[in-house]
């Protein structure tokens, strides 16, 4: 059966001689690059394109056409090649012959459709590149070698900067000139003599068939039912201890970590009045809408059928949801729960093995017979052996679970949209300001010590339900050189800037306004990144006066919206009222705050989120010791995040302490600046 790939999904290849058919509806240039084990293209001689159509094991067409057949012989590739990327690019305007002006971007063309077939023409996998917009070049597929076997993966990564940007991203130093060569060669080549026979039924036929015969795998049991019930954290809070008791003696024996994560995975409780936009679901890339309706409505991704007894191959988006956005969100939370529970099983088994060993060793000690001869030693030996066997079995089960989760995490990570992705993900290259707010935002990664190689993206719902507190007093990791180099305070502010950039990037143009107060100006250097990009409503407020002004304005805003909502008169807000969500970054608290300002801040923390005003405190609780317990409710109400890895977050099911790592930009990367530039440009275009 032909596999219907979704972005990020992979599929094994049965043979090494393949044909990749492209059907684009408009002339496109097809090329393929060879990459080494790291995916780097080592030089122009590793690129098959219209100028150099044939490499060993790889052949592409000489010209831009709507239909391509790319021949691949994986066995004939150079040994150093570990992957083959299949690229499509729109011809540059000057290269397109007069009278045949093609679309200027993929968003204006029909979604390209690629099929991998074997030599007999039997289809192995399809992939429709939906959701492209301003891109003019795109990586359609990747064939890659994994443990000696070749697989195909659907990529769909577009580049607005065209082939030059795409090839640069692949590490090719001469990318711009090569891109020019490719386009010139495609334009120069003679008009097609139809060297490749037309497809028997045409691409439209394929698409129709594809739409009506979706490949649906069995729903794997990996996803737990939603709303299966509150976890222990919630029971502890909301249960009725007087009426019904809880288990004693079954305590995991671990002190409850400081802060439970706020939201368990949401039950699929979207209001029924909100059907999926436009009826069928565009699951490809939630916030990138094609101008033309996507020609196909591919089915929700599901694990493909696998031989019984083997876990299903994980696929990104393999969860319930109305949109890909929601599916990925639910999948991430599902992985989070699975990992929590797998590790709970392991820890419980090890704790039991330890306590049994202790008990048995005690028994040996207290048994007078054991003191004579070697009996005691034998008993001790066998107790230890029993302990080891049990721990080894628990470890085996854990390793199996972790291996599956790691594969799933990898598949999911590759498919995440910007708001969910790490800063070093390639999707940020294609970032553009979204039309609507995503469901959630990634604030970092969560890990357990037993599973350091399986990071769970920490996704929090948008709009933020409570404020964020970036703890600048956190210096618990003296061994961390980065903490020493920058000092926790500036690191905390760096983190705040990265989170702020993400929040800005997740909101539609002008939908999010950021204010900052920095009473003594001590954070000016870091905040300058936001100021320079032009994404702040005003320069950071300094001095007591500045602090009071900003707080008063935001407090009034909350009051106004509150009154309007309560009075049922949302349209009675003053004309020109800025309806965007507001974020207040507070640096160096409580400097510059008088009692009135502190009260206003607490009011904003409590009431703000319901009325579109959010708080991000960059603060050290020690600095506020003078206030005594007065501010405790403020800190408790905020989601505490740390600028360095720290294990203070608890999951809602078992209550493990998870190590949180903030989502930070790799030093030297320009991605933050580029994203902020796009946000600023979009803000200007809507007049803010």
């Amino acid at each position: 059966m032909t596999a219907e790939l979704v972005r990020g999904q992979n599929h094994p290849l049965p043979g090494t001689r393949l044909e990749i058919r492209v059907s684009a509806g408009t002339p496109v240039v097809a090329a393929a690059t060879l990459g080494d084990a790291e995916g780097k293209v080592l030089g122009a001689e590793w690129v098959a394109h219209p100028g150099t159509p044939a490499l060993s094991g790889l052949e592409v067409s000489r010209q831009a056409t709507a239909d391509h057949r790319i021949a691949v012989d994986l066995d004939a590739l150079p040994d150093a090649a570990h992957r083959v990327d299949v690229l499509l690019a729109l011809p540059t305007p000057d290269a397109t012959r007069a009278g045949r002006r093609g679309p200027a971007r993929f968003g204006a063309a029909a979604a390209p459709f690629v099929t991998v077939t074997d030599l007999s023409g039997a289809e192995i996998a399809h992939y429709t590149l939906t959701g492209l917009d301003a891109e003019t070049a795109v990586i359609a597929l990747e064939l890659y070698r994994r443990q000696g076997a070749w697989k195909v993966r659907a990529i769909g990564q577009g580049y607005a900067g065209g082939l030059a940007e795409l090839l640069t991203d692949r590490g090719l130093p001469e990318a711009p000139s090569l891109a020019r060569v490719i386009h010139e060669a495609a334009a120069r080549s003679p008009a097609r003599q139809a060297p490749t026979p037309p497809r028997p039924s045409g691409s439209e036929g394929d698409r129709t068939r594809q739409a009506v015969t979706p490949v649906l795998g069995p729903d794997p049991a990996g996803t737990p039912p939603q709303g299966a019930g509150p976890g222990p954290e919630y029971e502890a809070e909301y249960g009725d201890p007087g009426a019904k008791p809880t288990l004693q003696g079954a305590d995991p024996g671990q002190p409850a970590p400081a802060q439970p994560l706020p939201s368990p995975p949401p039950p699929p409780a979207r209001s029924p009045s909100r059907p999926p936009e436009g009826g069928p679901v565009d699951y490809h890339h939630p916030r990138r809408r094609t101008t033309a309706p996507a020609p196909t409505q591919p089915p929700p991704p599901a694990a493909s059928p696998t031989p019984p007894g083997r876990p299903a191959r994980p696929v990104a988006g393999d969860a319930n949801g109305w949109s890909m956005d929601e599916r990925l969100y639910n999948q991430v939370w599902g992985m989070f729960e699975d990992l929590a529970r797998s590790v709970a099983a392991y820890r419980s088994a090890v704790a039991f093995a330890d306590s049994r060993l202790d008990k048995e060793l005690d028994q040996v000690l207290s048994d007078p017979r054991a003191r004579v001869g070697g009996q005691g030693d034998t008993a001790r030996e066998s107790a230890r052996a029993r302990h080891e066997r049990l721990v080894a079995r628990a470890q085996e089960v854990l390793d199996r679970d972790l291996a599956q989760l790691a594969t799933e995490a990898e598949a999911v990570e590759a498919a995440l949209p910007p708001a969910y992705a790490r800063w070093d993900s390639p999707v940020w290259h294609g970032y553009r300001v979204p039309v609507e707010m995503p469901m959630a935002l990634r604030l970092g990664d969560l890990r357990l010590p037993e599973a350091g190689h399986v990071p769970i993206p920490m996704l929090v719902r948008l709009p933020l339900e409570r404020g964020l507190w970036i703890d600048s007093g956190h210096t618990e990791s003296p061994g961390d050189p980065s903490a020493d180099a920058h000092g926790p305070r500036s690191l905390a502010l760096e983190t705040a800037v990265a989170h702020t950039a993400r929040l800005l990037a997740a909101h539609p143009a002008g939908g999010f306004t950021v204010h900052a107060v920095d009473a003594a100006g001590s954070g000016a250097r870091t905040l300058a990144r936001l100021v320079r990009a032009g994404v702040l409503a005003a320069p950071p407020a300094v001095g007591a006066r500045g602090v009071a002004d900003v707080l008063t304005r935001l407090t009034q805003r909350v009051d106004l919206v509150h009154m309007a909502v309560r009075g049922g008169a949302a349209d009675s807000l003053p004309p020109g009222f800025d309806t965007s969500r507001q974020l207040l970054i507070v640096h160096d608290f409580p400097r510059g705050f008088d009692d009135r300002a502190v009260n206003q801040l607490r009011y904003l923390a409590d009431e703000g989120p319901s009325y579109g005003v959010h708080l991000m405190m960059v603060a050290d609780r020690e600095d506020c010791a003078g206030y005594g317990p007065l501010l405790d409710p403020l800190w408790r109400g905020l989601l505490r995040l740390t600028p360095v890895a720290d294990d203070h977050l608890a999951d809602p099911w078992v209550g493990h302490a998870w190590t949180y790592e903030p989502a930070l930009v790799t030093p030297g990367s320009q991605v933050l600046a580029r994203v902020l530039d796009r946000v600023a440009a979009a803000r200007r275009s809507v007049g803010r």
Binding site: A221, P224, A228, G229, P230, G231, P232, E235, G239, K244, P245, T246, L247, Q248, G249, A250, P252, E337, D338, R341, S342, A344, A345, Y346, S348, A349, F352, A353, R356, L390, R393, A394, V397, W653, V654
Partner: protein
Amino acid sequence: MTVNMTKGQAISLEKADGGSLTSVRMGLGWQAAPRRGLFGSRTREIDLDASAVLFADKQPVDVVFFQHLVSDDGSVRHTGDNLVGGVGQGDDEAILVDLERVPVHIDQIVFTVNSFTGQSFQEVQNAFCRLVDETNGQELARYTLAGGGAYTAQIMAKVHRSANGWTMTALGSPANGRTFQDLMPTILPVL
């Protein structure tokens, strides 16, 4: 084929074809009390609760009941508390056990039923408890509780690891108690 189990009877959960059961469900059903009062507000509701206790070498490790619906390791799941009962036919409460995911040190899982509202099984109509092979819906064993003695709880059955996979033993020990905790003294001797 349904086995109407008798006390102390053990059945292997190994299937006829040699495969072992992977997922079982303990279902509990009972008929709601007849409505009393003008608005049914004075009905003496009957609330039976199903619980499962996970043991490692006779030590309770985890319990699944109406306040802890999923065992920490995720292998045992309660479908939710029913406070009033149903028509006395379908399962009103159920506990699902994914035997393949039960942690390695857990060697016994004991299922219990207790009357939270205090009616004895003599007073409850059409109460039953059954074990179902969740993979195909086949009923493996069924107990009738209704018309039982003047007690408010019962230790229903245990599934335990044996040389070839899991075995279920019907227990049917009567007990008294409001929740599974009251039953612990009765459970321990049957482990």
